[in-house]
Amino acid sequence: MLATRSPAEPVHLPTALALPAALAFLAGVAVTAYAAWLRGYRIRARFETELDKANRPRPHEDPQESARRAFINLAHRIQAIVNRQLRELRDMESRHGADADVFGDLLQVDHGTALIGRLADSLAVLGGERPERRWSRPIPVLGVMRGAMSRITEYPRVDVGRLPEYASIDGACAEPLIHALAELVDNAARYSPPDSRVEVAAYEVPNGLVIEVLDAGVGMGPEALARADLALRTESIGFELSTLGETPRLGLAVVGKLAHTAGFEVSLQHSAEGGIRASIRVPELLLRGTERAEAEAPRAEQLRRRPAPRGPQVAEPFGLTGQGLPKRRRFDPAGEVVEP
């Protein structure tokens, strides 16, 4: 006989809930699966659209535009590697500075890396990019010159002539100038006898600064000079490999582009000595003053950490304070012990 449950008999809770729970679970699974499918579908759809967009030539875009972007992308990747390697090399040079052989080899690798860096920079500039590198402090004119020398093969042939010591270029604007100067100095060294010197000098003019590169080459014919000048002035030179021709014009095209975007003027003339005089006219806007102490490394705060002089110097009379204690002395950048 079947026992009938009286209504008062408590229902076994798990049994009662099993069916709705299973239904709810199934519904949940279905909803989740549907949501996942929907999301996947959307992602797929978006991906396909993007792919389609990337493959389809844009109606408003020059067919060369994607090639240009690819070149710039490559240039940026090389620049990133070079910049990291230059930082690491600086650390290695500090670590191995006392071992002349290792240090000399590191300097050689450093030089090679800087040359690669300039090529990558040129590639980016020709692709229409403005140099992105910013320096965190104003760069003295000498720093600009030595920075440019750092990036050319024949830097030992370059002499630094007279220059205004206390003028600096704004750190955010120095990079195009350094790169342009490197191209001009490289041209000067390349097209002059290998045993001749190249001079870099600078002087102030009423509304700015002129940096000059003088070589002792045979000069250029009037036609070649006109062509070079044109290469400098043609702002429209884009990434058209067919128009760039051989290396010297490539360098000049880079200089022309940099001058146009950064706001300085470059000109080429015959010099009185027979070679070529390349001048960069830097507007006042890009200049910053430099503290005297800053121009003459090292900085004052470094020297204040100088330990007290030892040996016979200790016997020198100190000034005394009101309490009869020796006065503090510090070492200033001019090398004098000064009473504060």
Partner: protein, 129 residues
């Protein structure tokens, strides 16, 4: 004539600037072995008529900084720290100045070590007490 373009950027002490060390040393990794410069060699600027503005022309600011700092004898290691340059580069700059006769060097004074025989004699004397 100099005016400011932008507020000064935050200075990063680790930013070495655009100049590379080989430009400063002319590619040399260290002084000539005959120059005999080491970390504790003391460098002293040569004063007087030789050290005139004319003789200092053509020197880099780093050279001039060495001359200024070496009015008192300073070791190459200390110079290297003040200039924030590796030892090899500092030594090359000092060598340039030596050749221009703008500085002279002297080996660090080694503290005099008493004769070992004397020390033994003293030891024996103490033990006898």
């Amino acid at each position: 004539m100099i005016r400011r373009l932008a507020p000064p950027t935050a200075e990063d002490p680790d930013d070495p600037g655009p100049e590379r060390i080989y430009v400063l040393t002319g590619g040399r990794g260290g002084p000539h072995p005959r120059t005999r410069l080491d970390l504790v060699t003391l460098v002293l600027a040569v004063g007087g008529a030789r050290n005139t503005a004319a003789s200092r022309r053509g020197l880099f600011p780093e050279h001039r900084a060495i001359i200024r700092m070496c009015r008192r004898p300073l070791s190459v290691a200390e110079l290297s720290a003040y200039l924030r340059l590796p030892f090899g580069a500092t030594a090359v700059l000092v060598e340039d100045l030596l050749q221009a006769e703008l500085v002279r060097t002297r080996a660090a004074v080694v503290p005099a070590v008493p004769d070992p025989a004397l020390i033994e004699e003293v030891l024996r004397g103490l033990q006898r007490l």
